[in-house]
Symmetry: C14
Subunit: 95 residues, 14 copies
């Protein structure tokens, strides 16, 4: 198995794993935050403006970790520096 195939295989595996497992934490964290927001709204409807705003800031922070994972997956699939290097090398040597 040549080098390019190996890099392709590993990139596919890690792209899937990084997104598939890396979104588990954010999903659970957001579920907790939303659940807590709804309980708070039921308890103190008058503070709904503050609660909603704080919730959205918090969700953005948590979502950012999911996006880190998605970004790494996309880099591995579409902008992989090692793949690009191998591609360049292969073309230059007419391999």
């Amino acid at each position: 198995m040549d080098s390019m195939t190996m890099i392709a295989l590993v990139s596919i595996v890690m792209a899937g794993l990084t997104t598939g497992f890396g979104t588990m934490g954010p999903a659970l964290g957001e579920g907790r935050a939303v659940a807590s927001a709804l309980t708070s709204l039921a308890q103190q409807p008058d503070a709904s403006a503050t609660i909603t705003r704080t919730l959205f800031v918090g969700l953005a922070m948590i979502e950012s970790t999911a996006i880190y994972c998605f970004v790494v997956s996309m880099i591995l699939l579409f902008a992989n520096p090692f793949w690009n290097f191998a591609l360049t090398q292969a073309q230059s040597t007419g391999h």
Copy 2:
């Protein structure tokens, strides 16, 4: 086993794993959020408009992580850049 078969195999495996495991977190998170919404509705029926709206925003945020996983699976199955490259290369060399 040639390179194309390997890439096909790994893509199938990761497409399944990414969706199969990556949806576990969102499902649990959404279950928590919905459970909390229902408890809140029972406690404060008058705030049902705010609660429902916040719930839907939250579910959309959580669902987004499940969709990242599904998107990565679909990319691996139907728009896999490494497979396309291998396909192009195989056709050009008459392999």
Copy 3:
């Protein structure tokens, strides 16, 4: 073992794993949501219309992640692009 057999094997494995494990999260999440709905109904029977409607929307969202898994399984079994490609190639070369 030739390429087509390998692709068939891996597709069978992932079809089972994706559905078998991927439905665990939704089942637990839905169980939590339904349990919470029943508690809420007992606490506030007058809000049964709102509670039931919110529950059904929530269950649909959670069920969607189970359906993603089932869809990926069905794609792997009956509309597998890599299998179709291998099939086409095998027929064209009279392999």
Copy 4:
């Protein structure tokens, strides 16, 4: 070991695993839902009609994920497309 035996082995393994593990989630989820229904009935016997109806809808939703698993198992055992293809090919070549 020839291809048909391999496909048979993997199908048997996945049929068992998909049903055996995939029903764990629904069983726990339904247990939670039923437990919650009984607590609610004890708390608010007057709402038994609504509670029972909501419970049955919820159990149907949760059971559906168990049925997805059972269906995939049955497909793998009795309507396996890869096995059928291998069978057809074996008969046509007089293998």
Copy 5:
């Protein structure tokens, strides 16, 4: 090791695993449901008819997932399509 032995081995393994692990979920789920029923009976003895009826419906639903597992085990042991095919083939070729 010939094909028939392999199929026999894998069928035995999966028959045991599917029943052995697949009944863990239902057992825990039923334990929870029964525990909840008893607590409810102690809290609201007057509703014993409704509680008992709902409990039995719930137990039947949960037990159904255990029965799926047992059915798959029995199919693998006594009505295994792949074993039957191998048996037929072996007899026809006088193997």
Copy 6:
């Protein structure tokens, strides 16, 4: 290692595993049910008839899953269809 030994080994392993692990769930489930029954009896001694009857029905349901496991173990040890087939074949060929 001949086929019959392999089948014997795998049958022994699965007989032990199925009973050893498959009884863990029922034991925990029954412990929970009994614990709940005792709490209920202490809380509402007047309902002891109903509580005891419901407990016994519930224990029977939970015990049934343990019995499925024990039955599969006994089938594997004393009525194993694959072992019987191998035995018959060995005797008929004077192997």
Copy 7:
């Protein structure tokens, strides 16, 4: 390594595993039941007859699963059908 040694080894391993791990569930379940009985006795000393009787019935049910495990271990050690068959075969062939 001949067949008889292999069967002996596997029987020893499974005899230990089945008892060693299979008694974990019953021990925890019984601990829970006893703990609950003691709490109930402290709360309602007048119902000690009913509580003690129900506890003993429950302990017997839970202990039965531990005994299944112990029985399977003893069968594997002292009444192993596969070992007996191998022994008979070895003696008849003067092996």
Copy 8:
């Protein structure tokens, strides 16, 4: 490695594992039962006779599962039927 050494090795391993892991459940279960007894004594000192008696019966039941494990370990070390058979065979053949 001859058969007797293998049987000795496996017997040592399983003797340790069965006792080492099999006593974890009973230890935790007894801890729970004792903890509950002490709480009950503090709550209802007048019922100390009944509580202590029930505790001792319960501890005996739980300890019995630990003793099953210890017995299996001792059988494997000092009364191992397979070792005795191998020993007899070795002496009779002057091996």
Copy 9:
């Protein structure tokens, strides 16, 4: 497989793992912090300024650990010292 390919493979794997798993902790921690903030806001709306400020400081601290992971991933992908060394060495030796 030459050294450069190995370094590339391992860098891809670790870039994915570090981000994919390393963001799980921060996501859960932030979810907890946000949930607690929302509960506090509902309980004491007057202290919203202090609560929000403390929340943001806390989120920044927690996010910093996620950023450590992301930074290590980026270093491994785009500023890997070992890859750079290998690259320099390869170019200087005309390898």
Copy 10:
């Protein structure tokens, strides 16, 4: 590697594992019992005699499982029947 070395190695490994892991359960169980005793003493100082006595009986029962593990370890290290047999055999054959 000769038989005696193998037996020595396995005995060392199991002596460590049996004590190392087998004392985890008793330690946790005793911690729970002692914690409960202290809470009870604080709640009902007048019953300190009964509580202390019951605690010591309980600790003795739990400690007994730790001692089973330690005894098995010591048997394996200093009174190992298989090692003694091998030693006797080695000396008698002048091996």
Copy 11:
């Protein structure tokens, strides 16, 4: 594979693992501390100065463990003593 490549590979792996997993504990610990601080602020707004100061000291202590991990990762990547030694040796021997 020569020594320098091995050292490079292992350093990359450990740099990622140390940061990726080592930040999980601090992130969860900080999440708990921040959550507790927010609850305390809501309960006792007057003590906000003391609470905030204690929180920051605590966060600094917890963050320090995350920084230990990050420092070890950076040492492994940029100041690895074993890599430096290998580099020096390679250059001195003109390898």
Copy 12:
């Protein structure tokens, strides 16, 4: 690798594992006991003599399990019977 080296290696490994993992249980158990003692002291300062005495007895019991582990480690390192035997044998044969 000769026998003495193997025994040395395995002794080192088990000495570390036995102490490293075997102290986890006692540490957690003691933490629980101490925590409970402190809560009890705060609740009933007058009973501090009884509480402290019971705590010390309990800690001694729990610590004993940690000491079993440490003793086994020390035996393996400094009084290992198998190592001593091998040493004696090696010296007597001038090996």
Copy 13:
């Protein structure tokens, strides 16, 4: 692979693992202690001096275990006795 490389590799791996995993416990423990301190401060602001002092002593104790890990990592990286011995030996033999 020569001895020095092996020692280097293993030292790198253990340096990372010891710090990466060994700081998880202290981080969680400190998080719990800080959280408890903040709750206590909110409940009893007057005792802030005692609480803060006790917290700092406690954090120092917990941090000490993290420092043990960091110290072992640093010893392995910069003062490894086995590496130093190998280095001395290599230099003296002109290896």
Copy 14:
């Protein structure tokens, strides 16, 4: 790989593992004890002398298990009896 290198490698691995994992339990246990002390101080500031003294005794007991681990690590690194023996033997034979 010669014996001395193997002993060195295994000693490095176990030194790291014993400290890295063995301090997890004490850290969590101390965290719990400190947390409980702080809660107690807030509840009963007058008993601060007794609470602090008991806490310090408890922390010393728990810390002792961490110190056992650290001591074993240090023995393995700097006073390893097997390494010393190998060293002596190597020097005496001029190996």
